[in-house]
């Protein structure tokens, strides 16, 4: 549907691209390969360079160094109006002096598509985003969600090889955002267009994407599927940026095959963790474990394989479906634990200052070096 993928190489290829503004490196030697039909997210905080990277894909910025290929064609020097790429802007950038219909038709008119074909394609795409009854409206008569769909329709109607989305859902309220997330995914699925999404919202990136690149200070910290990035972060930054995580600083004291023993000053006993490629003995590392991987109980757990620590409930929060606990270890370290509230009344609920045991399996944690 979106043209031939020449060869079997990646559909979008970013080769060692840097962008300097003066001395400041907004994007710093980034390389990336995105496959055809992917829904790829670039995730990072504000000022991490993610928008600059997107703008280089769209053609609004020229890389200081490096090349960008789309479908095998070097587009590095191509101006935006010649690229097979369309963008959905964060502000939506809907032309205020044109009707919805005119907005959507604009791109086709610039391509000198025949009049009746324009009408047909505009109708089709407006149907797809469920705006067919709003065709004659002016943008100021639309709600935020409707504007978002106009922007989407306008960017999709040219059937670009790649659709770039800059914070597509940031301007919507929570309920609408959730709804639109799934709508975006189903549209992407239907049209098979490669999506590149820039977002600061990790939840949005997790739900939407086939793969995520986590970006910080102009560099990629990790690229992987949402699951990889969440379950197996490769750096403290990624572990901390995505979701909540408990980190224990320590030194490796023993390595036995995959099993690594870490001496940690913050805990009473050594921690054990698994690593396929463990760092050297004596190196300083960090054991990271997600709150939902930790079990909490009032009785001492029996499994001796597990890491077991005791502490008191410092604070707790009830969220309906789950409860969050902040457990203070004897050394003062706070560990966050989340537990599903499966039963309503069988167990006594934990209260403040209760003595509890927390435990987790060695394979639930990851060892982080950076």
């Amino acid at each position: 549907m979106t043209g031939d993928n020449k060869g079997n190489g990646p559909f979008i290829e970013i080769q060692d691209v840097s962008k300097y503004f003066g001395d400041f490196a907004a994007v710093d030697s980034v390389s990336l390969a995105i496959q055809k039909g992917e829904l790829f997210s670039i995730l990072g905080g504000s000022g991490c360079g993610k928008t600059t990277l997107l703008r280089m894909l769209a053609g609004f910025e020229t890389p200081t160094k490096g090349r960008i290929f789309i479908d095998g064609v070097d587009v590095t020097e191509q101006p935006p109006y010649e690229r097979p790429v369309n963008m959905m802007f964060q502000s939506y950038a809907i032309f205020p002096h044109m009707t919805v219909e005119k907005n959507v038709a604009y791109g086709l008119e610039k391509d000198r598509v025949a009049r009746d074909e324009i009408t047909r394609r505009v109708d089709d795409i407006l149907k797809l985003v469920q705006l067919e009854t709003f065709a004659k409206r002016k943008p100021d008569q639309l709600s935020g969600g409707q504007r978002q769909r106009v922007a989407l329709a306008r960017a999709l109607v040219k059937r670009p090889k790649v659709l770039l989305l800059d914070e597509p859902l940031a301007a919507l309220d929570k309920k609408l955002r959730e709804h639109t997330q799934f709508e975006l995914m189903s549209i992407q699925d239907k049209l098979g267009i490669t999506f590149v999404v820039v977002t600061h919202d990790q939840e949005e990136a997790m739900i939407l994407s086939s793969r995520i690149a986590v970006m910080d200070r102009g560099r990629f910290m990790q690229v992987g599927t949402p699951k990889e990035v969440y379950e197996y972060p490769t750096s403290r930054f990624v572990a901390d940026f995505i979701g909540t995580i408990n980190m224990f600083e320590g030194t490796i004291v023993d390595i036995d095959g995959e099993r690594v023993r870490i001496n940690c000053e913050e805990t009473a006993s050594d921690l054990s963790a698994l690593s396929e490629d463990p760092p050297k003995r004596g190196s300083t590392v960090c054991v990271a474990v997600r709150p939902e991987k930790i079990f909490i109980s009032q009785n001492e757990p029996e499994n001796t394989e597990d890491i077991r620590l005791s502490g008191v409930v410092e604070d707790l929060g009830y969220f309906g479906n789950l409860s969050l606990y902040r457990i203070r270890l004897p050394g003062g370290k706070i560990v966050q634990v989340s537990a599903q509230n499966r039963r309503r009344s069988a167990e006594r609920f934990l209260e403040w200052n209760d003595e509890v045991f927390i435990s987790w399996r060695p394979r639930s944690s990851v060892i982080l070096v950076d």
């Binding site: 769209a58 053609g59 609004f60 101006p79 935006p80 109006y81 790429v85 369309n86 963008m87 802007f89 964060q90 502000s91 950038a93 032309f95 205020p96 002096h97 604009y106 791109g107 610039k110 391509d111 002016k138 943008p139 100021d140 306008r154 960017a155 040219k158």
Partner: protein, 268 residues
């Protein structure tokens, strides 16, 4: 509370009186039958008739309008270009200098502007024989130089309030830069351009000092004519002329207000 509002109202009334009593008296005395401009002699429209029979007045009024129209159009074209350069071309070399030079005619005393332009025209004439005589052409050039400064400022402020991603979106959809200017930028800044045109028109119509410097024999604009007539004493036909100008200008202001209100409503 009641007392204070009465106080405020009286200040308001005083302010309006201060602004409009002189204008009202001009309009009032334009219907005066008496030959003396300040003595009431009964209602009459004879001075309007006399005005219309006065070729000198009509000629300079027509000259002023022609100049104002040309100036407003030229100033809008150049001013819009300058405003776009200032707000859309990023930080090019010499931007600060350019910006300062664009706006300096606004703060430059008119006497200086007029004098320097006169010197320029005179030396140009000696060097290349142009302008052969001073009049419509020289006044138009002189007025355009300072009127375009106002247009540039109005257009620039409108452009900087406008979301730049609108133009980027148009380019992203396949519009070449020049096409985007006509498709997106100009329609969106049209209200600012109309306001700029009207302002330039009024400024040109209004100007006495610069026009006096750069015009030559036989070419006097309406303000120049009025000023020279008043030197010989205020005649009632001047009142009639002033009334017509007030009518003309207020119509212009009303149109400008209507256009900008409509544009504001449209942009939400």
């Amino acid at each position: 509370m009641k007392k204070r509002s009465r106080f405020i109202l009286s200040i308001l009334a005083f302010g309006y009186a201060f602004l409009y009593i002189p204008l009202a008296s001009v309009i009032f005395y334009s219907f005066n039958d008496s030959r003396l401009a300040t003595v009431w002699g009964g209602f009459s429209t004879r001075w309007y008739g006399e005005l219309l029979r006065n070729d000198q007045v009509l000629e300079s009024a027509f000259l002023s309008l022609r100049i104002a129209f040309t100036v407003a159009t030229l100033a809008t074209i150049f001013g819009t270009m300058a405003g776009m350069a200032l707000s859309r071309f990023g930080r090019f070399r010499g931007r600060t200098l350019f910006s300062g030079m664009i706006t300096s005619p606004m703060v430059m005393p008119e006497v200086i502007t007029g004098l320097s332009l006169l010197l320029l025209f005179v030396s140009l004439q000696q060097l290349i024989g142009w302008p052969a005589q001073r009049g419509f052409g020289t006044i138009t050039i002189a007025h355009t130089t300072f009127a375009m400064a106002y247009v540039a400022v109005i257009v620039q402020s409108r452009l900087s309030a406008m979301d730049e991603s609108l133009e980027e979106a148009a380019m992203d959809l396949g519009g070449r830069p020049l096409r985007v200017v006509f498709d997106i930028t100009l329609p969106l800044i049209a209200p600012a351009m109309i306001a700029g045109w009207l302002l330039a028109f009024t400024l040109s119509l209004d100007d006495l000092v610069i026009a006096s410097f750069v015009s030559g024999p036989g070419a006097s604009t309406l303000p120049m004519l009025i000023f020279s007539k008043v030197k010989l004493g205020v005649t009632p036909d001047i009142n009639a002329l002033a009334t017509l100008i007030i009518l003309f200008v207020s119509t212009g202001v009303l149109i400008a207000w209507w256009v900008s209100r409509r544009a504001q409503r449209q942009s939400g």
